[in-house]
């Protein structure tokens, strides 16, 4: 019963946040709508027993990623009016039609093509201990690869940030 109430309230909040994100003219409102969606999803993670994932969701997504987004919005400037004129012919109707089709398809698949749980075992509790046990034994190699990925991302970002117009290769300055 509690779960149903939470699902209705925070499910509506998540969808509302997503709609605010794609409809708001101001990118700051878009970022805040996305933040609302992420907080709502963290609630679902707690309800599903994924406590560690919920904490990571709040810290990484709602904290770090959204702060980064807001910084870039401030850097780029929020007062610039976005030109909403669609330049591609037929883009809007085609996009809406395809979205409706795709949405109906995955809704149908998600509601019907569903596996039944094996009986007798309880749902996994996603504490840091259980996650760490799986992560550092069975999934150690993928975990180490994420370290490599993060290093590559950090180096690439620094390289992009250090780019100046002057040191571009010839012919690229426009």
């Amino acid at each position: 019963m509690t779960e149903l109430a939470l699902f209705i309230v925070f499910g509506a909040a998540a969808v509302y946040g997503g709609l605010v994100m794609i409809l708001a003219r101001n990118p700051v409102f878009s970022a805040l709508g996305l933040m609302l969606s992420m907080f709502s999803l963290a609630v679902f993670y707690v309800v599903s027993g994924a406590h560690f994932i919920a904490a990571v969701q709040i810290i990484i997504y709602a904290g770090a990623v959204m702060t980064l987004f807001l910084f870039v919005i401030m850097l780029i400037g929020v007062d610039r009016a976005e030109n909403r004129q669609e330049t591609l012919p037929l883009q809007r109707p085609l996009a809406l039609g395809l979205l409706a089709l795709f949405g109906a398809g995955i809704l149908f698949a998600g509601r019907t093509a569903w596996v039944i749980a094996p009986p007798g075992i309880g749902a996994p509790s996603g504490t840091a201990e259980v996650i760490g046990d799986a992560l550092f034994r069975r999934w150690l190699l993928p975990f180490e690869l994420t370290a490599l990925l993060l290093v590559v991302a950090a180096v690439g970002t620094v390289a992009l940030a250090l780019w100046r117009r002057g040191d571009d290769e010839p012919g690229e300055s426009s």
Partner: protein, 100 residues
């Protein structure tokens, strides 16, 4: 008790919302946020599936998706800022240099 099918349905709705943002908006930042929303929708289905199948791997997958998303956000935003410094706009319509 909410069945996992409902979580799947919510994930589908959020995913389509993010896709609509990609297809309909022209601001590179908002398009990027839409990608994040799509990744989050898939994370929700991962957690719901892991809970239903009684395995922890659903949550492990979510952790990896989060790491990849964080790396992607950092690089993507750096590219957006670099494009903005060069062009003075964050609209993807302005990037039409390859148009024939």
């Amino acid at each position: 008790m909410v069945t996992p099918g409902w979580y799947m349905a919510l994930g589908a709705v959020l995913f389509v919302t993010g896709m609509a943002g990609i297809l309909l908006r022209r601001n590179a930042l908002v398009m990027f946020m839409s990608v994040e929303l799509m990744l989050n929708a898939v994370n929700l289905t991962f957690v719901a599936a892991g809970r239903e199948l009684r395995v922890i791997e659903g949550q492990i997958s979510v952790l990896f998706v989060m790491v990849v998303a964080a790396a992607e956000v950092v690089v993507g935003l750096a590219i957006i800022v670099a494009v903005f410094r060069r062009r003075g706009t964050a609209s993807v319509d302005a990037l039409a240099d390859l148009r024939g």
